[in-house]
Amino acid sequence: MSSVAARTARDLTRITTGRSRDRTPGSLIFLGGLWFSLFFGVMVLIVLIVTTAIDGAPRFDGALFTAYDSTLAPERTGFRAGILGSIWLMFTTAVLAVPLGIAAALYLEEFADNGRWYNRFIEVNLQNLAAVPSVVYGLLAVAVMALMGFERKGIVLGGAIALAMLILPVIIITTREAVRAVPTEIRHGSLALGATVLQTTWRQTLPSAVPGIATGTILGLSRAIGEAAPLLLIGLAGAVRFDPAGIFSPVTALPIQIYSMTSQSQEAYQQAASAAIIVLLVMILSLNALAIFIRNKFQRSW
């Protein structure tokens, strides 16, 4: 007995020294692989942004923002129509998609009986909608515009319908998560005071979920602002030389202009497109930054 005890004690006191087993060749190779993958992703992005910025450097001037697309003076061409068009599209998209998305999410979270087949059917469809390629939404928007009797579909409303359908699933999913994060105790507290489900949703759940909803909406919009494919399908033209004047006004968008310019052979157009890409990236990053700011500022711990 005593020898067993003694040996155990001695083993316990002797901690192996030398090279850590976390530093064996196998571990190091694996770690190296992880680092490589990380660097690969980040480096590709950095190289892309830097080369684009260098290509577009000669064109970071006022004309880039104030001039229209010009075929006579390619070195003075600008994206005024595209930038304004993208802003118009964003606002119209938000007006269409945000109320619909929030209402749909509130129904699913607060009112729907999940035992009903049609509610489950809607759920499954929503999840699939989020995975539908954006081109398909362009086709859908063309159909919707045709049904509404629009001859010319490349207008603000047409583009906004396509983009709204594109980001609707994103808004619904993020709103549902924000609503679900509001504790059940709050709802029960309200209901126990004699409030209706509608009052509880309107006065308690929704206000508490607003920061989450805003974050999700902005992220959805920042995805929509970079989309070209659905807008091409609905027929937004690259060469628009006037400011959009309303939701029925023909319009172009920044990604469309970039797309049409990169297919031109002149060096000046390539430079202008590179500069416009940086402008687009800045717009998207500012939207994302705003979303992060809202999330951090209004984050509530229950």
Binding site: I186, H188, S190, L191, L193, S208
Partner: protein, 296 residues
């Protein structure tokens, strides 16, 4: 509560303990009839099911006006389920089904055509975890009267009255516009009580109202319960037998009986009596075992 029988008999204190609980009760004791005359609420052959699961079996209880009734018993004995039937909060649980009757002044609140929202304005509820709304203290109290469309002449007066009623006014009168989340746990729970009495209910249900509170906050809430008894009928679920003994006029002891085939535990009422009787002279062996700490 897991003291072994051996320990208790070794110290020879089984009866002492029961006796001491009865002593504690002295402070709150009043002379009451054996059964409530003119009960405010009654459960009649109440059975509750969650899907196929039979949660509560044949409960018959009468809750007396301006009395505090405590529902005690081990975990899973259905006491909270019974409580939630009294203001139809069980309606919010998917698959919950109630058989039998819950009467409020003789009217079955589970009858066809009864609006659960109307029931909840008469039968308020305070929850286990303080759950103030993420609003100001003032708006928390004013919320109930606002949503129920109560005729209020002066909301400021009503808020003050409710906060005084919940013994919270002096602590918060200078910060009514501040968030309720800045209050301590005990203050939050008293705010939830103030919020409930602002809607002027008849009955207040409390679901383990002190289980998330420290002893000092607990004793303040218990004092509050005794003072609220003047105006309200209070039904409280508690895990704390000393609390039941300290504050309640009557005590209902529940236990859980496992089903022979499925093993599901169905809650049933074992004994309902004046609190002094339950703690000094229980009729049922199971009650005596529970209150003397032999099980549960």
């Amino acid at each position: 509560m897991s003291t072994s029988p051996a320990t208790i008999s070794a110290s020879g204190s089984t009866t002492d303990r029961v006796g001491s609980l009865a002593d504690v009760h002295e402070a709150a004791e009043r002379v009451l009839p054996d059964l409530p005359t003119d009960p405010v609420m009654e459960a009649l052959d109440l059975n509750v099911y969650y899907g196929d699961f039979h949660a509560v079996h044949n409960v018959n209880l009468a809750f007396g006006r301006n009395e505090i009734t405590a529902l005690i018993g081990p975990s899973g004995c259905g006491k909270s389920t019974v409580l939630r039937c009294l203001n139809r909060m069980n309606d919010l649980v998917a698959g919950a089904r109630v058989e039998g009757e819950v009467s409020y002044h003789g009217q079955n609140i589970y009858a066809r055509g009864v609006d659960p929202i109307a029931v909840r304005t008469q039968v308020g509820m305070v929850f286990q975890k303080p759950n103030p709304f993420p609003k100001s203290i003032y708006d928390n109290v004013a919320y109930g009267p606002r949503v129920t469309g109560m005729k209020v002449e002066n909301m400021d007066d009503l808020v003050e009255e409710a906060l005084r009623g919940a013994a919270l006014w002096d602590e918060v009168k200078d910060k009514l516009k501040q968030s309720a989340y800045g209050l301590s746990g005990g203050q939050q729970q008293r705010l939830c009580i103030a919020r409930t009495i602002a809607t002027k209910p008849d009955v207040i249900l409390m679901d383990e109202p002190c289980s998330a509170l420290d002893p000092i906050a607990t004793s303040r809430v218990e004092d509050l319960m005794i003072s609220l008894r003047e105006d309200y009928t209070i039904i409280v679920v508690t895990h704390n037998m000393q609390q039941a003994a300290r504050v309640s006029d009557r005590t209902a002891f529940f236990t859980a009986r496992p089903d022979e085939t499925t093993g599901n535990r169905t809650g049933l009422l074992v004994e309902y009596n004046l609190t002094s009787n339950i703690f000094s002279n229980p009729n049922d062996k199971r009650t005596e075992d529970y209150i003397s700490g032999r099980f549960g």
